[in-house]
């Protein structure tokens, strides 16, 4: 069973899950990593950042490029996407993972934002999601596009929120798909829990 992911995943099943960024324990040279500068500037003694701090971090780093910086709700989603220990915070390694993923998604968005307006229309959103490998039925994409549109357009920030939710839902489904069949049996309680933790 192949699960889709970030642009360029080619529909392959990816074990780490995020844009090729290394996971696991800290690596040598961490303090020379330019990303570490942004991170350390907002993280406290515990070396963890919450949604507020993530927002500041990402804004300072300029990853949004010419686009408006991320709103707090999107940052909350990003923390929960990577918050495996449910602490409500992320450490530097998760931040690096997130960074790589965001870059991938941003490149993808740029390729669809042909007029550099910082927005895409619903059809472009559908194309963007499809080319990332997500095969959603048109009704679903339609209702998602409607939900996120402001005056018929979807902003970069909302597109990221979309991507984050898709990633998180994919992860939660995949964890339960122990037989790798692409099918899961859900009890009501588990179904609700699965979705609510996104």
């Amino acid at each position: 069973m192949a699960y889709p992911g970030h642009p360029g995943a080619g529909g392959g099943y990816y074990p780490g899950g995020y844009g090729g960024a290394p996971g696991g324990p800290a690596f040598p040279g961490q303090t020379q990593d330019p990303l570490y500068g942004y991170f350390a500037a907002v993280a406290g003694q515990d070396g963890q950042i919450d949604a507020d701090e993530l927002q500041r971090c990402l804004t300072q780093s300029g990853i949004a490029g010419g686009y408006k910086p991320f709103n707090l709700e999107t940052c909350r989603l990003m923390v929960s996407m990577l918050d495996r220990d449910r602490s409500g915070t992320m450490g530097f390694n998760e931040f690096k993972e997130l960074w790589a993923v965001l870059n991938g998604w941003r490149q993808h968005f740029i390729s669809f934002d042909s007029d550099r307006s910082g927005t895409v229309d619903p059809q472009e959103l559908q194309k963007a999601l499809t080319t990332m490998g997500f095969r959603l039925n048109p009704q679903t994409v339609n209702s998602v596009a409607k939900r996120y549109s402001t005056s018929g357009k979807i902003t970069f920030d909302d597109y990221i929120a979309c991507c984050v939710k898709l990633r998180a839902l994919t992860d939660s489904f995949r964890r339960r798909d122990t037989g790798q069949q692409g099918v899961v049996n859900f009890s009501y309680d588990d179904f609700i829990q699965c979705v609510m933790t996104v």
Binding site: G88, L136, S143, F186, I192, Q193, M196
Partner: protein, 106 residues
Amino acid sequence: MAATQLQPRLLASLGYWVDKDRSGVISDNELQQALSNGYRLSDQFHDILIRKFDRQGRGQIAFDDFIQGCIVLQRLTDIFRRYDTDQDGWIQVSYEQYLSMVFSIV
């Protein structure tokens, strides 16, 4: 009842009914009591719900977040029921079905 049928007065009554100490926020206890009417959910689920909707990180849920939570819960339950054709509390779904079911709700 469908989310679209929730009238403003009903929402206000709902909050009034749940927020027993009239503090303007819904505590963990009040939420547990409220959700035990109609939905059978585990304790673990209550923790998850609090975490998800406790925007201010104080172990309490503001009224509008509570309403959002109820609406999401209702919509998810509706869609689960639609797939649970034999009504045994279990569904089997493919990855794409799963995404299509929930992505427009969360």
